[in-house]
């Protein structure tokens, strides 16, 4: 079957390395999200697979066979573009059918177009030109065009980037089943970690042309490979503090703003560590008015509603600022309150301060 495999792929434009020794396999029927900040090389990666340019090094295989050097039209790839890239002078129907016609699929074209367009709810606009379509309809037409030929490899370049929030929410629910209709290996590029987590079986995190972590969504959230990955996943993003953990009485402790807090050691023996970052997600902070040895005193600077949560900006006695995300139904504190911050040892992540790499093995938890 058509497994997509990248093996040590490299590409540079001038002195900029857009792809550095990328290796990744996407199984048939699997959806892998390529996630990273803008400029990390996501689009370059897709375009190398699609054949718009060739890698400098390494190989790209589909079903075990190299496709490097083959022209785009012979790679068996379907692609949905961020800007839709619909053919402006053709109706939506002709846009969708173009691939089938090129392959000379014959009489069943009409039936296939009808079926995919009813699936994507664009049956009523098939005779319209792209400029007469709404953004959402354009996006669905582009998806239909990519899906209709049941390609062995399906590439989606941030397809929800240019549609409004409501539609994006709907599509996030619809897309996984749509993409799994055939047995395509799907690469889905996105800049939105929620989208990646909602749609993909696995997420490949790309930073500056390198794959820093490839894993299931909940694993990436719970066990980010590095502080950079931890910061990319989560909104508001993870709280960090500079610490030098020490082992005492079979446990690991660190000093945050003058308070000694216990850190997670997983099932490892605690040992003294060098300079580290400790990271705690805003969702894992517990805020109360009850003082204690394990509680960090803080002052609430501001309370902001965000999504379905209330986000508290906290300032510790040493001036460090952390964020806490609480369910907005509970009103624990108001601005200018003095509060106490706790978190479970299992919620803490430790990263090496020099390399950013995660240390230790915290317990696995469910993603928020």
């Amino acid at each position: 079957m058509a497994r997509l495999e990248l093996s040590s792929v490299g590409k540079a434009f001038g002195s900029v390395r857009c792809a550095d020794n990328l290796s990744l396999a996407v199984e048939s029927g699997e959806i892998v999200a390529v996630f990273g900040p803008s400029g990390s090389g996501k689009t370059v990666l897709l375009r190398m697979i699609a054949g718009m340019f060739e890698p400098d090094e390494g190989d790209i295989l589909v079903g075990g066979q190299s496709i490097v050097g083959a022209p785009p039209e012979r790679r068996g790839i379907g692609m949905a573009f961020q800007n839709f890239a619909l053919f402006p002078h053709m109706s939506a129907r002709d846009n969708i059918a173009s691939g089938l016609r090129a392959k000379g699929a014959g009489g069943d074209i009409a039936a296939k177009v009808a079926s995919i367009s009813s699936l994507l709810k664009i049956g009523h606009v098939l005779d319209h030109r792209p400029r007469e379509l709404s953004n959402g309809q354009k996006q669905r037409t582009a998806l239909a065009r990519a899906l209709i030929g049941n390609p062995e490899v399906l590439l989606l370049d941030d397809p929800l980037r240019n549609v409004d929030a409501k539609l994006r929410y709907e599509m996030r629910l619809e897309l996984p089943s749509l993409l799994r209709r055939g047995s395509a290996s799907v690469l889905y590029v996105t800049q939105d970690y929620r989208e990646a987590m909602a749609i993909a079986d696995r997420i490949a995190v790309l930073i500056e042309g390198r794959l820093v972590q490839v894993a299931r969504p909940e694993e990436i959230y719970a066990k980010p490979a590095s502080v950079a990955v931890a910061r990319l996943f989560g909104d508001p993003s993870i709280n960090l503090a500079e610490v030098t953990p020490v082992a005492e009485h079979g446990a690991l402790f660190a000093d945050i703003a003058g308070t000694r807090v216990r850190l997670d050691t997983g099932d490892r023996e605690p040992i003294d560590l060098g300079a580290c970052w400790v990271g705690v997600r805003p969702d894992d902070l517990v805020i109360s008015h009850a003082p204690g040895d394990d509680a960090i005193p803080a002052r609430v600077v501001a309370v902001t509603p965000m999504h379905e949560k209330a986000v508290l900006l906290l300032r510790f006695s040493d001036g460090a600022e952390w964020l806490a995300a609480l369910p907005s139904t509970t009103t624990v504190a108001d601005a200018d309150d003095n509060v106490f911050v706790r978190f479970a040892a299992e919620a803490s992540l430790l990263f090496d301060r020099a390399t950013g790499v995660r240390i230790g093995l915290p317990h696995r938890r469910q993603a928020a």
Binding site: E54, D56, D59, V62, I67, G69, A70, G76, K103
Partner: protein, 312 residues
């Protein structure tokens, strides 16, 4: 097409070294015809440069030989050359200034995009789309001393015996008139496009502040329009100094040598006096002048564009 079929046609070795990207030759193949045209221009151009350094007369082929820059040096003491230079520069200056002022004026008149204004600007395309040589013939008919309507009209004003192109004192005026008739619409079109693309805010702000119209024109409109004015005049300038069609069709450079501009003089040197070397040297000098002019203008254009953007 399945992957298996695809790979039968794909003969590239794998996994390493990487094959050269396919289709590298494609852009070169596509631009081959344009390259041929370039060669068709460059070869005669270089030939002309070589001829200009030769004693080369078609009627005396055995005298042909390399004489260095003698053709050019001869010009220094040749009154005919200085006459040509003078006439060409005067013709250029007069036509470009007249067309620029007139074109700017018309563009300002047509500035608001009403239906009537658009119709007028389309009608003004017609002279521009008339072949300049034919336009010269049209004006020749209208300025015929015997029956020409324009001769009749000036006689009504009390000017009798106005000989237009056949009188040395009015010949320049007459050909300039034809040039203005043909090419003013070109400047008008460019400036109109420029005027209509200017941002509205500065004008609205000036109107709110009650700034006088003359100030708006000289301090806002003109500076912002400057890049368009420079482009339009550059085009006219380069065309005008090379004017051939109108002058040749009207008077063939006459009366006498009154309108003997560069290209007409070079044409006659070549075909009438069969002096290829001299003709080529004349054209090389013209080419040099056009190069200098365009360089000066392009520099100014870049500077003005920056300033205009600063204003906006």
């Amino acid at each position: 097409m399945s992957m298996a079929q695809l790979l039968q046609t794909d003969t590239t070795a794998r996994p390493k070294p990487r094959p050269r990207p396919r289709g590298r030759w494609l852009p070169y193949l596509l631009s081959l015809p344009a390259l041929l045209v370039c060669i068709a221009i460059l070869v005669p151009f270089v030939t002309a440069a070589v001829y200009s350094l030769q004693r080369y007369r078609l009627n005396l082929p055995y005298l042909r030989g390399f004489i260095g820059v003698d053709n050019y040096i001869d010009f220094l003491t040749d009154p005919a050359f200085w006459n040509t230079l003078k006439i060409s520069l005067v013709y250029t200056a007069v036509t470009v200034i007249a067309e620029l002022l007139l074109g700017l004026g018309i563009a300002l008149l047509l500035r608001r995009p009403t239906r009537f204004h658009n119709a007028v600007s389309i009608m003004l395309l017609l002279p521009l789309m008339t072949a300049p040589a034919i336009a010269a013939l049209m004006w020749k008919l209208m300025t015929n001393p015997g029956f020409g309507i324009l001769s009749y009209l000036v006689s009504l004003l009390g000017v009798h015996d106005f000989k237009w192109a056949s009188d040395p004192s009015t010949a320049l005026f007459t050909v300039v008139l034809v040039d203005v008739w043909v090419y003013t619409p070109f400047i008008m079109i460019l400036l109109l496009a420029g005027l209509r693309s200017l941002p509205r805010q500065p004008f609205e702000a000036a109107a709110l502040d009650g700034v006088p119209a003359s100030f708006v024109f000289f301090r806002i409109t003109l500076p912002m329009l400057a890049p368009y004015i420079i482009t339009a005049s550059l085009f006219r300038l380069l065309d005008s100094i090379q004017q051939f069609d109108i002058i040749y069709a009207m008077t063939q450079g006459g009366p006498g040598d009154r309108l003997m501009v560069f290209q007409v003089q070079a044409y006659l040197e070549f075909f009438q006096y069969t002096n290829v070397g001299r003709s080529a040297a004349l054209l090389m000098i013209l080419w040099l002048i056009t190069n200098i002019l365009s360089n000066i203008f392009i520099k100014n254009w870049l500077r003005l564009r920056e300033r205009a953007h600063g204003h906006a």
